[in-house]
Amino acid sequence: MPSDGCSNSLAVKAAAGAQFLGPNRGPRLSKNPRAPLTEVPTTTSAHPGSPCGSASAKDSVEWEGRSLLKALIKKSALCGEQVHILGCEVSEEEFREGFDSNINSRLVYHDLFRDPLNWSKTGEALPGGPLEALRALCRRTDPGPVTIALDSLSWLLLHLPCTTLCQTLHTLSRQDSCHGDSSPGEQVHVLGLLHEELHGPGPLGALSSLAQTEVTLSGALGQASAHILYRRPQQRPSHQTQWFSILPDFSLELQRGPPLESQPYPDPHTPSMDPTTHLTFNLRLSKKEREAKDSLTLPFQFSSEKQQALLCPGLGQPTSHIFYEPDAYDDLDQEDPDDDLDV
């Protein structure tokens, strides 16, 4: 059995991964359903009979969620769980790329990518198409905790009626309660990847009501962030935003937000450079410079010394006078002094 520490860190991951289906997350977190989660502020309150967690991760073209899904799968595999993957969008080789052999040995890849609609007629297709593949996952009988990853829910949703998919998902996440002998520790965690732009509000709402945890991916300034909505039975849902990055080995690294959170609409395409680096003048003053600046009297400032200097001209200062001797021809007209200007 994985240690509590393992499940806690899993919770952290789940918390960070906005792209996973929510419902899976809950069960994952709660290997021991009553163990407090470190990252989510409350304890998970899953009862033994409660639906297994399912989590959905919602991504976008710009912020892809498959690497987060793979990071969560890695975590599950490290906890000793068997991981079943229903792969509709990438080939098995591409999906397994980046995992080491230890993890790959725990993954069972159900390949719906190669021939999902049986066009090739080579017999490589999973019999019965996507729906039957999903139902086969529901019927699995191997003991022990299991994680089921659906890559992706979008593909399934585009090819199956929404109601059928939701019912099957419901069966999938509840399958442990069908086996009377299974202990709460052997729950099924369902992870789903959903491309949000591809679906209307109706199917999105239906899926999100099934999910216990919903992680929505976005990002800013080159840093991915996950908004996590976690629903607990009979409690208010909790929201959390977590910044993260995925390392090349698909381990998850939680991070603090980008430094410039105050910029509401940063342009991610222009590298942020400090505009004050190569100025020809100073933007700040040293203490000495500030004192010199404060002590300087500007020419237009009228002070008492200036007033004194104007009122009492000093002895040494030459005083000037204008002498004017009117010429005989000067025609001084008091009423029109500018008369001689020819205007």
């Binding site: 892809e64 498959r66 732009e197 395409h269």
Partner: protein
């Protein structure tokens, strides 16, 4: 082939990446220069090319190809290029017995919405030869463009399925490449096109998006090109994965420059 674009994408005809889906997208501008680039690029790279051309005639592509230094006629004669001329063969669909399969069979069937015959045509065209004729480096499928399939009445999911199968066969099995152009109408009410565009975006490894300038027409800057690398094996910062350049299309070339750095402006 535009050498400056090769530099931006960090590729040359001598080192072709394999197993990739490249999505070309144009919004409020004409992105066909990207199609001409990839057509001449892969012909020069000695790849076997299947070109599904639904928009223009063979002679149009041939004339542009000659400007870029490739002859489509020669390539077709020597078997390097398989050209499906949609404009011509669309008519053939109606004048042949219905039993004979035709790649554009969907035109004749009111509600089949299935592109399996087109996929089988691509599969047949690019199937690796067993004989010693294996002179071509890797198979490449080029489609110009997928949006027109929507206009012809095919559903977005059917087009996505077609691309899915092309990926599974050409990219995964034969280690080749797929390049497809899709228009972005910018019309929020065109849901089918949005589903197609976003669905392909999620499948692709590289997205090249040509956009008209937000400020309108300009004589010296014809638009901007956004490059987005997805699904790189080494997760990197978003900043390194996404680049934006402005471009000017010339007679035989396209020049790229950083935003606001057009020689005409400086």
């Amino acid at each position: 082939m535009f050498p400056e674009l090769n530099n931006l994408l960090n590729t040359t005809p001598d080192q072709v990446e394999q197993g990739k889906l490249t999505l070309l997208c144009d919004a409020k501008t004409d992105g066909s220069f990207l199609v001409h680039h990839f057509l001449s690029f892969y012909l020069k790279a000695n790849c076997k090319v299947c070109f599904v051309a639904l928009i223009q005639s063979f002679s149009h592509y041939n004339i542009v190809g000659q400007k870029l230094g490739v002859s489509l006629t020669t390539a077709r004669e020597c078997g390097q290029l398989v050209f499906l001329e949609g404009l011509k063969s669309a008519v053939d669909v109606f004048f042949r017995p219905q039993e004979e399969p035709h790649p554009l069979q969907f035109l004749r069937e009111a509600n089949s919405g299935n592109l399996q015959p087109l996929y089988e045509f691509v599969q047949e065209a690019l199937k690796p030869m067993d004989s010693g004729e294996a002179a071509w480096r890797c198979p490449v499928l080029l489609v110009d463009d997928l949006s027109v399939l929507l206009s012809l009445g095919v559903g977005a999911v059917a087009v996505l399925d077609f691309v899915h199968y092309c990926r599974a066969t050409v990219c995964r099995e034969w280690k080749g490449n797929v390049v497809a152009l899709v228009h972005d109408s910018g019309d929020a009410e065109d849901e089918e096109n949005d589903i197609l565009l976003n669905g392909l975006g999620h499948q692709s490894h590289l997205i090249l998006r040509a956009e008209g300038l937000a400020t309108g027409f300009c004589k010296d800057v014809h638009g901007q090109l956004r490059i987005l690398w997805r699904r790189s094996s080494q997760p990197t910062a978003q900043r390194d994965r996404s680049l934006t350049y402005q471009y000017k299309i010339q007679d035989k070339n396209v020049s790229f420059f950083a935003k606001g750095m057009s020689p005409a402006v400086l």
